[in-house]
């Protein structure tokens, strides 16, 4: 296990933007004084004439992006998820969502893996906020390979997209050579008949670890990576739920309004089964090392394993 490559998806984001610069001449990247942290600085270095630092004014950045989009640009706006989705919610809704402008929102430092900065900067509400906006696509990549593919897919897609990236380095488990990303299409990572584990973002790796431990106990888990929370892949969820009859969702986000809620929406309307949602239980985070927080709030492999055992 020691030689597994670890990369933060924010790194993948910055690299992908730079890699896409030539293929998408309309791409313009905007940041709000966080280029070093969001990694849009990588794009800035490669393509300074198409990088705009808006200063610490996220709402204005969002409006500027809207204006740029009306003139044919494809703006990517970047900040921490707390500001990109939280502070900015109404600007995103009214200036981007309502006119369905071709603006991409690259939100980094999502969830509790922000770590030491603590609760003010740990956004566990962004998926919920963004998926309520009509026409907004919401993508949460799980690793470096998926994050880079998601950035390119977002650029190829016409319309607003919210992409959620993390601060902490996470294992790369997808194979770059064979991985195919399709917006709205879930990925089956493991086949099992006893229970379904649906995860998103950095929790996909936790789900895989939990499945490994469960297998040792003789429990076979279906593991599904839902990288696109909206539009969600109903078929892959229903097919698995019909097989296992039990679903566990895992996300680095509030259990209110995120992946778990989206999965419950699908199941409740089509094929109700028992669901356990793992995530932040209507609470704020706190300061601490990312790995310690992930463990404390039950989002690591061990935590997911225990939660799955409870539902069985």
């Amino acid at each position: 296990m020691a030689d597994i490559k670890k990369i933060a998806t924010r790194e993948s984001y910055g690299n992908a933007l730079a890699e896409c610069a030539n293929d998408f001449p309309q791409l313009v990247v905007l940041d709000a004084d966080l280029a070093g942290a969001t990694k849009t600085g990588v794009f800035k270095k490669a393509c300074p004439e198409r990088f705009i630092d808006c200063g610490i004014a996220e709402c204005n950045m969002t409006g500027i992006a809207a204006g740029l989009a009306t003139c044919g640009k494809i703006p990517f706006i970047s900040s921490f998820a707390m500001f990109a989705a939280g502070r900015n919610f109404e600007q995103v809704r009214n200036s981007i969502g309502y006119p369905h402008l071709n603006v991409k929102i690259g939100a980094t430092h999502a969830g509790i893996t922000v770590g030491e900065d603590g609760a003010t900067h740990q956004c566990n509400e962004d998926i919920a906020l963004m998926r309520t906006i009509p026409g907004m696509t919401v993508i949460v990549p799980s690793d470096d390979v998926e994050a880079k593919a998601a950035v390119r897919a977002a650029l190829e897609y016409e319309g607003p997209v919210y992409l959620r990236f993390g601060r902490a380095a996470v294992p790369v488990f997808n194979d770059e050579a064979t991985y195919k990303f399709e917006i709205g299409k879930g990925v089956k990572l493991r086949d099992g008949k006893d229970v379904t584990i649906i995860a998103t973002g950095i929790c996909v790796d936790s789900a895989l670890q939990a499945a490994e431990k469960l297998a040792a106990d003789g429990i076979e888990a279906d593991v599904i990576n839902i990288h696109t929370i909206k539009p969600i892949d109903q078929d892959i969820i229903l097919e698995s739920a019909k097989k296992t009859g039990k679903v566990v969702t895992v996300e680095e986000h509030s259990v209110i309004g995120g992946l778990g809620s989206a999965v419950c929406d699908v199941l409740a309307e089509n094929y109700p089964v028992k669901v356990k949602k793992i995530g932040m239980n209507d609470m704020f985070g706190e300061s601490g090392p990312a790995a310690a927080l992930v463990a404390k709030y039950g989002l690591d492999g061990e935590g997911v394993y225990k939660s799955v055992k409870e539902i069985l």
Partner: protein, 278 residues
């Protein structure tokens, strides 16, 4: 156009505003009427636009940041030929392409959806940035309410515009002095407006909003000013042209009833008569 022709057009725009709001039984006549001369000047004299090709690439852009005065924008667009004047009567009706606040996907000639105060100016700044990046020479105009500039985002956008020397941007503030809760200086004073924009590296011009010579001069001043955006602070009369609406905050967001509509149209007909004799 001569000033007299512009005055006649502006009076038609005012009739459209009053008729639209009357038909909708809701809407914002006061701030639409205070800016009617500016709407008229922009769409009939100033902007490089083509009603037959509303999305023409290198057109000048307009963002109605004070989006609640959509009746003013719609009436100017209709009178300019973007869509039939008769359709103004569908304002705010179910299924109408004339939404309560501007919607760029619904209405020909609307360059940006707006209405949530403070946001339109940022979009205008983005359009101006796009023009600079692409080395295009189109110009961008945005109209704000004087109450609207209480929104912090207005100053985020102004700071950015000034810092980036966006001389292709004109920010117009409709200083009619009234907002929903009363006088702007009583609610939360926005004054001095000019000094605030100057501090953000704007070229600032103060004019009478109902004087076409002054509007024309301000626009020329803006065009010849390089290296900084221009702010035009226009002193206006809220409800201008309709006797009982003038300088009355109560007509910010209220529609006239049958009797009031008749009086309003009579007032505007009298202005027509005066302009005929001029």
């Amino acid at each position: 156009m001569t000033n007299l022709e512009l005055q006649k057009k502006a009076n038609e725009v005012r009739k459209g505003i009053v008729t639209a709001v009357y038909s909708a039984k809701a809407g914002h006549p006061g701030g639409s009427l205070s800016a009617a001369d500016m709407f008229t000047y922009l769409y009939f004299e100033e902007m490089n636009i083509d009603p037959a090709n509303p999305k023409k690439d290198d057109r000048d852009r307009f963002v109605l940041s004070k989006g609640h005065t959509a009746p003013g924008l719609y009436s100017a667009l209709a009178n300019r030929g973007y869509f039939p004047v008769e359709d103004l009567k569908t304002l705010r009706h179910l299924g109408s392409y004339l939404q309560g606040h501007p919607c760029m996907q619904e209405t020909p000639g609307v360059d940006m959806s707006s209405g949530s105060l403070g946001q339109g100016i940022s979009a205008a700044v983005g359009m101006a940035m796009a023009g600079k990046m692409d080395k295009k020479d189109y110009r961008v105009y945005t109209l704000l309410g004087d109450g609207e500039i209480q929104e912090g985002q207005v100053w985020e956008a102004s700071m950015f515009a000034g810092a980036h020397n966006l001389d292709n941007l004109v920010v117009i503030v409709d200083n009619n002095g009234l907002q929903i809760d009363g006088k702007v200086e009583d609610v939360c004073s926005v004054y001095p407006i000019e000094d605030k924009f100057k501090a953000f590296n704007f070229n600032v011009v103060t004019i009478d909003a109902h004087n076409f010579d002054e509007i024309r001069a301000a626009m020329e001043n803006a065009k010849t000013t390089k290296g900084m955006p221009t702010a035009i602070v226009m002193k206006s009369v809220k409800g201008k042209g309709v006797s009982y609406m003038e300088n009355n905050a109560g007509w910010h967001g209220k529609a006239p009833n049958d009797d009031e509509y008749k009086i309003a149209m009579d007032d505007l007909a009298k202005i027509d008569e005066q302009l005929k004799e001029a």
